[in-house]
C-alpha cells in the first residue's frame, strides 16, 4: 500500500513561501513582471527576463496541457505501481513538473497535449502539493 509519507517534502524559502501558502489554500500562484509582463516559474522576487524587482503574484487558472512525461516502472514506496512523472505547460506559459493523477498510468491514457487541471494534496500541515489531472476527471 502506498505510503504517502515517503514523498520528499519541499522546504519553502522566503522567496517561495507565497507559492506554498497559496497551495495550502488550493491556489496555484504564479508571478508576473509589472514592467515587461513576463509570467514565470519557479518563484523568484525578480523577473528572469528583465531583472525588474517590480513583480506581482497572481492566481493562475490551474489549467494547462500535458507537455511530456515518463511512466516510472520501478518501485517507489509512495506509489502503488507505475506512475507518471510529467511536465505540464500552464495556460499562462510556464511549465512545471508534476504527476498526472486520477488517470490510468498508460501511454494510451496519457496523451500529449491533453488538457489538464491542478488538484492539491496535503502532505503536511504546511505543504500541499499541486498535481494535475485530466480536465473534468473526478478526483
Amino acid at each position: 500500500m502506498a505510503d504517502r509519507t515517503k514523498i520528499p517534502v519541499p522546504k519553502p524559502t522566503p522567496e517561495t513561501e507565497h507559492f506554498w501558502a497559496g497551495a495550502r489554500n488550493g491556489q496555484l500562484k504564479l508571478q508576473r513582471c509589472s514592467e515587461c509582463s513576463e509570467v514565470y516559474f519557479p518563484p523568484r522576487p525578480f523577473c528572469p527576463s528583465c531583472i525588474s524587482r517590480n513583480v506581482e503574484i497572481f492566481d493562475a487558472s490551474g489549467k494547462g496541457t500535458l507537455y511530456s512525461y515518463v511512466i516510472n516502472q520501478r518501485e517507489h514506496p509512495a506509489h502503488d505501481g507505475p506512475y507518471s512523472i510529467a511536465v505540464v505547460e500552464l495556460e499562462e506559459g510556464p511549465r512545471m513538473m508534476t504527476n498526472i493523477v486520477n488517470c490510468e498510468q498508460t501511454p494510451e491514457a496519457l496523451e500529449l497535449d491533453m488538457p489538464v487541471e491542478v488538484v492539491f494534496e496535503p502532505l503536511t500541515e504546511e505543504i500541499s502539493l499541486p498535481y494535475f489531472q485530466p480536465q473534468g476527471a473526478r478526483s
Binding site: 514523498i7 520528499p8 517534502v9 519541499p10 522546504k11 519553502p12 524559502t13 517561495t16 516559474f41 519557479p42 507537455y67 511530456s68 512525461y69 515518463v70 511512466i71 516510472n72 516502472q73 520501478r74 517507489h76 509512495a78 506509489h79 507505475p82 506512475y83 512523472i85 510529467a86 511536465v87 511549465r95 512545471m96 513538473m97 508534476t98 504527476n99 501511454p107 500529449l112 497535449d113 502532505l123 502539493l129
Partner: protein, 380 residues
C-alpha cells in the same frame, strides 16, 4: 582558445573498469592519475595544476602529493571534465600553470568511499521536482523524449537502434562491459524502466576512472606518446531543472557549447572524422547529432538507421560502445575524452582509419550543462 596551442600528453583509464569493490573512490582517481603520469613519463612533482569533479581538487592534489599553482573544481555533472580541459587550456595559455592533471574516479556501482547525492529540499529542484518522486536520471533525463518524438515523428524503433549500433562498436572493444549483439526487438522488449525507455536504453552503472595531462603544445614532442592537440572548446549551461528547459526537443547548452567549439576550431562538419556524444540514455546521441549541427532537426534517428554512425559509416560515433555498452560510472565524460584521445593516437580497439579530427561532446545533469572538446593529431 588558440587552436593547437595546448596538447594532451598523458591519458589513461583505471587499470580495471566495471566492478571494483576493493578500491575507494579516491583511489580510482589515483589509479587513473598514476597510469596517466606513467603514460606521460611524469611524476607528481612535474604537475602544477589539478582539476577534478566528484572529489575536491584539494583532496586529489594532497592524495597524489601535488603542489598546485592552479586548481579547478568545476562540477557541472558528467561533462565537468570537458570543461576542465577548456579551463586548463586557458590557464596554461595565460601562464597560470604549465602541466595540468585532470582526474575522474567514481565508485558508481560498488559505492565505496563515495558521498551520497540527495537534493536539498529547500533548493528549487527540491521544492518543485523532487516531490514528484522522480528517481534520478532514468526518470528525469528521459522526460523530454516523448515531446521530441511527437514534434519530429521519430519512432521508438529509432530510439532502440541507438543502443543496437553502439553494441556493434562495443563488440570490438575487449574492455566493454557488454559485447553481445543486440537487435531492435531485444532492446524494445527489455524490461521497461521509465516508459518509453527500457533497460537497454539506459546507461550502465559501473566503477572506474580516467585521467588526462595537458601542457603547452611546444613541449608536446618531448613526451613518449603521440600528442593530441586541443583545437576547439565550448561550454554552457541551461537549467538544473529538466522541467524548465526552454524547449524539450533541443538542448540550448548543446547548441551553445558545440557552436563555440566549432568556431574556435575553424572546422566544418565535413572535417570531422570521429564523434563522441555522451550517451547516458539512448536519446542523447539523437539530440547531440542535431544540436551539434550534423543533422537537421528530427533527422538524427533516420541518420543512425541508415548506418552513418555505425562501423563502416561516414561518421563513426561512440566507438568505445558508449555509456550504454562500454561503461558509465555516473560522470561518463572522462571516458568519452579517453576514447577521443585513443582515436587520435591511433590506438583505439575500434580504430577509425586515418582519423584526424575528433569531436567529443558531453552533457552534465539532465540537459543542465554541456562541454565540447575538439581534438586533432595534427597541429593546425
Amino acid at each position: 582558445m588558440k587552436p593547437g596551442s595546448i596538447a594532451i600528453v598523458g591519458a589513461a583509464e583505471t587499470t580495471e573498469l566495471g566492478k571494483i569493490p576493493d578500491l575507494a573512490q579516491i583511489q580510482l582517481h589515483a589509479d587513473a592519475a598514476i597510469n596517466a603520469m606513467n603514460d606521460a613519463g611524469l611524476k607528481p612533482s612535474d604537475i602544477d595544476g589539478v582539476a577534478t569533479a566528484g572529489e575536491s581538487a584539494t583532496g586529489i592534489a594532497h592524495y597524489l602529493g601535488i603542489t598546485p599553482k592552479w586548481v579547478d573544481g568545476t562540477s557541472v555533472g558528467g561533462c565537468s571534465f570537458m570543461l576542465h580541459v577548456r579551463h586548463a587550456a586557458a590557464a596554461i595559455n595565460e601562464g597560470l600553470c604549465d602541466t595540468v592533471l585532470i582526474t575522474h574516479g567514481e565508485s558508481g556501482r560498488s559505492q565505496v568511499g563515495r558521498g551520497r547525492f540527495a537534493p536539498a529540499m529547500a533548493s528549487l529542484s527540491g521544492q518543485f521536482e523532487a516531490p514528484y518522486c522522480s528517481m534520478g536520471p532514468p526518470t528525469t533525463f528521459t522526460i523530454p523524449f516523448l515531446r521530441y518524438m511527437k514534434e519530429t515523428g521519430t519512432t521508438l524503433e529509432q530510439l532502440a537502434n541507438v543502443a543496437v549500433v553502439q553494441r556493434e562498436w562495443a563488440a570490438m572493444n575487449p574492455r566493454a562491459s557488454f559485447r553481445d549483439p543486440l537487435t531492435v526487438e531485444d532492446v524494445m522488449s527489455a524490461r521497461m524502466i521509465a516508459y518509453p525507455f527500457t533497460k537497454l536504453e539506459c546507461c550502465l552503472v559501473t566503477d572506474g576512472g580516467g585521467a588526462l595531462i595537458l601542457t603547452r603544445a611546444e613541449r608536446a614532442k618531448d613526451f613518449p606518446n603521440k600528442p593530441v592537440y586541443i583545437i576547439g572548446t565550448g561550454e554552457s549551461t541551461e537549467t538544473p531543472m529538466v522541467s524548465q528547459m526552454e524547449d524539450m526537443t533541443t538542448s540550448r547548452a548543446f547548441r551553445v557549447s558545440g557552436a563555440k567549439a566549432f568556431t574556435e576550431a575553424g572546422i566544418s562538419h565535413a572535417d570531422v572524422d570521429h564523434l563522441m556524444i555522451y550517451d547516458a540514455f539512448a536519446h542523447l546521441p539523437i539530440y547531440g547529432l542535431e544540436d551539434l549541427g550534423f543533422c537537421e532537426r528530427g533527422e538524427a534517428g533516420a541518420f543512425m538507421e541508415e548506418r552513418h554512425t555505425a562501423p563502416g559509416g561516414k561518421l563513426p560515433l561512440n566507438t568505445n560502445g558508449g555509456g550504454l555498452s562500454y561503461m558509465h560510472s555516473g560522470m561518463y565524460g572522462m571516458y568519452a575524452l579517453q576514447e577521443s584521445v585513443r582515436q587520435m593516437r591511433g590506438i583505439a580497439p575500434a580504430q577509425v582509419d586515418g582519423a584526424k579530427i575528433s569531436v567529443c561532446h558531453g552533457v552534465g545533469g539532465m540537459f543542465a550543462a554541456s562541454g565540447t572538446v575538439i581534438m586533432s593529431n595534427e597541429q593546425p
